[in-house]
Amino acid sequence: MSVDTETVAKIAALARIKLGEDELAGMVPELNAILGWVEQLGEVDVTGIEPMTAVIENTLRLRADAINADPLTGGDRRDDILANAPVAEHGFFGVPKVIE
């Protein structure tokens, strides 16, 4: 499978990356070279093989059913969370108006 300019533009829109026309034109052959190369995976017989879900078998743990079980990742950290925001107002993240 290969991608054309229109497809790359669509992927870029899905990925929320604005690409200029030159950038888009340069990306098409690069992505096609990579996609053409990974296509060799199609040769592998994977009949009856499950896709990998974990490299090391491990069971997912549940944390203690308690508020702020770990204070570092619990609540009450609003100011720390907002400290690096490009725009923070009144204790919230600031974004451009989204109501049309």
């Binding site: 990356i17 990306m27 491990n58 490009p86 108006k97």
Partner: protein
């Protein structure tokens, strides 16, 4: 006094504990080397005061007769992928430039708790995506090694942990943290004549490490020799409830278990790694390694890893897929860069921010990842790659029925020149052909310097172990190291 920057982790730890010199003297000596090595561009931010403060704390503890910790008095470099409280954590990207975490990554916190101090944040490939440290927003790192042909070409330090590898090789720090997603500890270690180990997936907590491909990312130490890596790995590893894939296992006393005696051990040599057109010096160093382990008492066995050739293409589906998902968080809202064009709405802001904040390689991988995960292509690419990954993992399981540890080259070549591969992403990717299979299977793997090639550049040998058997990898590494007698001495030009 002898030059303290010639000392490694064990020698500094023991020297400080014995009172041969103070931790402050050590920190000052390395701070001076960092300040004088701007040409290497290994550090994005130097933190000499942090190194001094930690050293003072260690000296004060010693004066009071308190225990100094596994890394007591050892200043280290921190790859700029680990969140460090109050110190810029950029992942070498523009989009995170200026990001100053309010929290500390688990691994860095463990190192500080063990008595280490921070010399600074080390340069890397942007978001750890690259094999030459040429994708950093903060410029290339230069390998301190030069070819012996008088060409003076600036060489790549490997990547993504290129700042870490260059800094350790150039004696700017006795050890540094690295992270390995598809070879990012081992390949730069090989390119700069140092030692680095990626432990079993889950040994080191990923909490607070900027995520690239979460099912592959694993932190590990980079240092001058096997013992130094061992000590540092003990300080970095351990269960962390904040990482859902963290291994709930005790950390063994790997240093006490170090032994170069390979009697009764079977070393596997994978047939598939001996590729057509293999670099003659790389092939020779591999043969040397086989002979050295045999001399150390090991039995050499040929093994098969039949799906080796498919590891790299599978990796270049899985890693970008995970990256496209992980990097969705950089949206100009919560942290990092925001680019808000005049009159733009929220969606335009996302797209403009990500266009301005990500470099070309990062964009390329996000687009590949988005494509292979998109409706209609998911099964053909992503599911197929994860099935191939299962087969690669089975290959290793079968091989370890016949051997205890696997020996292979770390890379297909020695360090290449900066700029040599930047126009061809595929040829850059092929650098990790020997490193990626162990990453896909989550296995511990280490690179140890084996000697110099005909150009006078270091070559690395790789050891791959069974899951959880870091000890077996470290011990075989020690046997190689003792036989190779590699000095790591290089001529200072910076």
């Amino acid at each position: 006094m002898a030059d303290l920057t010639e000392l490694g982790v064990a020698a500094i730890r023991d020297g400080v504990a014995n009172g041969d010199f103070s931790a402050v003297e050590v920190a000052e000596a390395f701070n001076a080397n960092v300040a004088a090595a701007g040409e290497l561009n290994a550090f994005i931010v130097a933190t000499p005061d942090a190194a001094l403060d930690a050293a003072k704390a260690t000296d004060a503890k010693r004066a009071k007769g308190e225990a100094l910790g596994k890394m007591g008095g050892v200043p280290i470099g921190m790859k700029d992928l680990f969140a460090t409280r109050g110190v810029q954590t950029s992942a070498a990207s523009h989009i995170l430039e200026g990001f100053t975490p309010e929290y500390e990554s688990t691994v860095s916190q463990k190192l500080w708790d063990a008595g280490a101090g921070m010399l600074g944040k080390l340069n890397l490939d942007q978001f750890a995506m690259g094999s030459s440290n040429e994708t950093s927003h903060f410029g290339n790192v230069v390998n301190p090694w030069k070819r012996n042909d008088g060409s003076d070409a600036a060489l790549a330090p490997g990547g993504s942990s290129g700042g870490s590898s260059a800094a350790v090789a150039a004696r700017l720090c006795p050890a540094a943290t690295g992270t390995d997603t598809g070879g990012s500890i081992r390949q730069p270690a090989a390119f700069t004549g140092i030692t680095g180990i990626k432990p079993t997936y889950g040994r080191c907590s990923r909490w607070g490490i900027v995520a690239f491909a979460s099912s592959l990312d694993q932190a590990g130490p980079m240092a001058r020799d096997v013992r130094d890596c061992t000590i540092m790995l003990e300080a970095m590893a351990g269960f962390d409830a904040k990482d859902s894939t963290s291994l709930e296992l005790p950390v063994p006393d790997w240093e006490a278990g170090l032994s170069a005696d390979m009697k009764g051990k079977r070393v596997g040599i994978p047939r598939e790694y001996r590729m057509d057109g293999m670099d003659a010096d790389v092939a020779k160093s591999w043969d040397d390694g086989i002979a050295w382990l045999k001399d150390a008492g090991a039995e050499i066995v040929e093994i098969n890893l039949p799906h080796t050739k498919y590891a790299l293409p599978a990796y270049y589906i899985i890693a970008p897929a995970e990256a496209s998902s992980n990097l969705a968080r950089y949206d100009g809202v919560r942290y990092g860069l925001r680019d808000l064009p005049e009159g733009a709405g929220l969606q335009d802001m996302y797209a403009a921010t990500r266009a301005a904040g990500f470099g070309a390689e990062v964009k390329r991988r996000i687009l590949i990842g988005t494509y292979v995960l998109s409706a209609g292509f998911y099964d053909a690419y992503y599911t197929q790659a994860q099935k191939v990954r299962t087969l690669i993992s089975h290959d290793f399981k079968n091989a370890f029925n016949e051997c205890d540890v696997i020996l292979a080259p770390t890379c297909p070549s020695a360090a290449f020149a900066l700029g040599e591969k930047t126009n061809d992403p595929l040829s850059m990717y092929l650098n990790d052909v020997f490193a990626v299979p162990a990453s896909l299977a989550g296995l511990p793997a280490m690179s140890v310097p084996a000697g110099l090639n005909r150009e006078g550049l270091p070559l690395g040998l790789q050891l791959i172990g069974k899951a959880f058997d870091e000890q077996g990898v470290l011990n075989a590494g020690l046997a190689l190291e003792q036989a190779a007698g590699f000095s790591g001495k290089l001529e200072k030009w910076w």
